[in-house]
């Protein structure tokens, strides 16, 4: 029996309201079992776990929240700015606001006469939206579709369209568990098939047809990256179980190569091949058999790894010019091997993968990260300092007997990073949160002082926006204080008297010409709320500039001794 989109959404809504993960998994497994049409089964898993389209298809419906918000405001015959926006701010979710408006407003109720749409019908609407060229065409398609839906269908329709999480506390791992449960399969087997196919829909299909073994890794289809967890203490148990590598000051990338064909994928699995022609040339010249590498792209000049800030000048450039290529040449440093000899090797241990990688590297003259045995904290400290001298970010500790755990952040890889910098800054604006922080002010624009800076008229200018690092209690206190300090309101944003001082921590300072300060902070977060400090105690733009210059001019040890990597 095929299930309707309404049944699907109502089940999702029940899952949303359920707290136990096992119950959630059971509910979705039951739903999957009810579907006997293979294509619809694929869609059900895909809608819950990935979105409107297969993640690997690269397809997007390209419907932004403004497009769906405007379409909903028109549908409900309400003013977008005066009425819709405050509703969205109050709920912290555009799709939830739309659900409620569709349910409450009589103009919308009159237009809607819900039909039993199938998942295939919904998929067709997603395709139509993708094909539509402009916003007004997309709005018409949305409104025609909504006429046939109930409010809860409309809410999840929009969330699925967003090609991200449905925000029901039911993430991909749980969908995988549901598939395993529904078709009595081993969880690990389903997870494996998912990672190989890169498609949760296809995985559900294979599981239901007892064909999980068909899942195979394909060249030129990116595999999710294995991720590292921050190390809690350098006094790790059994240091001898780990290998250390420097954590490069570059950009993570996966290279797929086979003879003349080369493709490069970024951390978010986007194809970035065209941005790095010298890497393509490098691999083409080597005429290698099918191989997939994991590694890092770094700017490399005069035997030195140059700052990530310089690599930024290459990122996003589709066709870098000659000058850029000469000024910021890049190098690919491999540190892992995923595919070789016509088969995936990610199930081998790190030791075995490294051995294979070194052999290949020796044959084709590739750059490979240096690996070190460690026996305790002293070694870690020594190697960490050496990495910093090279200009790298820190150290990676990788468990020797671990498989390549694609798409997961576990304890097999540990990163040792140096603490970022910190500034004292003042809160200038508070922004209403979204999702689970809906209804509170949870994002804060932080300002630094330019009081004695002749280049500026103002006293404070923004340097970054932080939305984490505080506790629930601190957030509550901040919200109480904010309501007293608010002097202006711009929709979901409050302008505040500059009184609240926060110590913010960040990974790095970056140049950003589009901001007033000319700099932004990388990953700013709250370190402490400084109730004891006032706006006269905070850091200045000059401090920020100094920090950046120091970083850029920091001596970087060339790679001629104890190198971070080597050509084998």
């Amino acid at each position: 029996m095929p299930i309707s989109f309404r049944t699907f959404c109502e089940t999702i809504q029940v899952i949303r309201g359920t707290r136990s993960t096992n119950t959630k998994i059971g509910l979705f497994a039951q739903l999957l079992q009810q579907i006997d049409e293979p294509w619809e089964l694929k869609l059900a898993a895909q809608f819950a776990g990935e979105g409107a389209f297969d993640e690997i298809s690269g397809k997007r419906a390209s419907v932004g929240s403004r497009t769906s918000g405007l379409a909903a405001a028109n549908f409900c015959e309400i003013d977008y700015d005066y009425v819709f926006k405050p509703c969205r701010t109050a709920t912290g979710s555009s799709s939830e606001a739309i659900e409620k408006l569709m349910e409450n407003i009589s103009a919308a109720i009159k237009k809607r006469s819900p039909k039993e749409l199938s998942l295939t019908d919904i998929q067709q609407i997603f395709e139509d939206l993708r094909a539509a060229r402009n916003r007004s065409d997309k709005e018409i398609i949305l409104q025609e579709a909504w006429k046939k839906m109930t409010p809860v269908e409309i809410k999840y329709f929009i969330r699925i369209l967003g090609q991200g999480s449905l925000r029901i506390g039911f993430e991909t791992r749980s969908v995988v568990a549901s598939i395993a449960k529904a078709f009595s399969k081993n969880f690990e087997d389903v997870r494996y098939a998912h990672m190989i196919t890169g498609s949760i829909g296809k995985t559900a299909l294979l599981a239901s047809q007892n064909r999980l073994n068909d899942a195979e890794f394909r060249l030129f289809h990116p595999l999710s990256f294995m991720l590292a967890s921050p190390i809690e203490s350098r006094m790790i148990e059994h240091p001898e179980y780990y290998l250390a590598e420097e954590k490069f000051d570059g950009m993570r990338a996966q290279v797929h190569v086979s003879g003349n064909s080369v493709q490069i994928f970024s951390r978010d699995l986007n194809d970035i091949t065209r941005s790095f022609p010298e890497i393509i040339d490098f691999f083409r010249q080597r005429d290698m058999p099918p191989t997939v590498l994991d590694g890092e792209i770094c700017v490399y000049k005069n035997d030195t790894i140059l700052p990530f800030q310089l690599l930024q000048k290459r990122m996003g450039l589709k066709k870098p010019g000659k000058k850029i290529l000469q000024e910021y040449p890049v190098l690919y440093i491999a540190y892992d091997l995923l595919y070789s000899g016509n088969e995936p090797v990610f199930d081998l241990t790190l030791i075995k993968r490294s051995e294979l990688l070194k052999k290949i590297a020796a044959k084709y003259n590739l750059a490979v990260a240096s690996q070190y045995e460690i026996s305790g904290e002293e070694d870690i400290n020594y190697l960490f300092e050496q990495a910093l001298k090279h200009g790298n970010e820190g150290l990676m500790l990788k468990r020797k007997n671990s498989k390549y755990e694609y798409g997961q952040r576990r304890k097999s890889w540990l990163k040792v990073k140096k603490p970022g910098g910190s500034f004292d800054a003042v809160i200038m604006y508070a922004h209403a949160g979204s999702g689970k922080r809906g209804g509170t002010y949870s994002d804060f624009t932080l300002g630094i002082s330019v009081k004695n800076d002749e280049r500026y008229e103002e006293e404070f200018i923004p340097i970054g926006k932080a939305y984490c690092g505080y506790t629930d209690d601190e957030l509550k206190k901040l919200n109480d204080r904010i309501s007293e300090l608010a002097v202006e309101r711009y929709g979901p944003t409050l302008g505040l008297l500059p009184k609240l001082v926060v110590e913010i921590e960040f990974d790095d300072v970056q140049v950003n010409k589009r901001t007033k300060a000319g700099y932004t902070l990388r990953l700013p977060r709250f370190k402490a709320i400084r109730w004891d400090l006032g706006p006269n105690d905070i850091n200045t733009l000059k401090d920020v500039e100094k920090y950046y210059q120091n970083k850029l001019q920091q001596e970087r040890l060339p790679q001629d001794q104890n190198p971070s990597f080597s050509f084998h």
Binding site: G17, D79, P86, A90, S93, K100, N104, G438, G439
Partner: protein, 327 residues
Amino acid sequence: MNIQKAGYHGLYFPELKIALDGYHPDADFVFISHAHADHMPRNRSASVHATPATLGLMELRGFRGRSNPINFHETLDTGRCTVCFFPAGHILGSAMIHIESDSGTLLYTGDYRTPPSPASEGFAAPESVDYLITEATFSLPIYKWKSHEELAEEIRNFAKDSLEDEHTPVFLAYNLGKAQEIMHMLASLGYPMMIHGAGYKLCSVYEKFGYDLGNYSAYDRATCEGNILITPASALSNGFASNVSKKRIAYCSGWAALESRQTQLTVDKLIPLSDHLDFFELIGFCQRLSPKKVFITHTPNPDVVQHYLQKSGIDASFLQLEAPSEE
């Protein structure tokens, strides 16, 4: 019409020399709409006029000043104006305050709920007024309430189902008004209930005025398992019933209309039971009274109400008395 701020967030009318929901040193009369903390005078020794139920609740909540009871529909002549209380349907004793003077008629709603809370004296309003000062806590069209019958059914079912599954049901509800309303809805089940101390002491006033609150006692940590528990949300993080491992928690508030509250409060169920009227009832009420001017207070979104009232030809503006806060 000259309106000033009085006390924490009350109003003062200098020409009439009266203050509403706040103390003002120049006022001849202070009228209190109901016994919630944000409407009671901060000056605990003021002389105030309020309904007998409101005065009873205020005294139990620390008010030590002079109490002058005034019944619903009774008029009081201050010399400068006549004042009359209308039942507001918000909580026990809650009143809307009607003021007639040379400048015309004015209705100050305090907090109100129509259709009225079943644990209140009902709701009544004059047919029309010149000026309306209205609260607008839930001033967005995303807020539309289910009927009290439906909500009461949800509440009873939540309690019954939890107990049947051998879980202790916990209702998170404000300790004056919402707590007693829930107890009143649960009374017919006959199950034993326990209510948090701050709310417990107020229950006697409800019973004195004839509202059945069922079979209840004060919260006792040692014996609370298996009772229906009622407590403000804040007590839960301070160890309330933390010795009971098998419990199910429902959050009862107008704010429960927002899905994010479920994860923010870590509860099993959201029951959007409000003691304020919803957006549609608010706009409808303003249209029915068709005042010359509406002043909007107690709201994070005055612009939206103003936008809708102006669309139906009613002049409206925001009367800012305090920073927006939660129920």
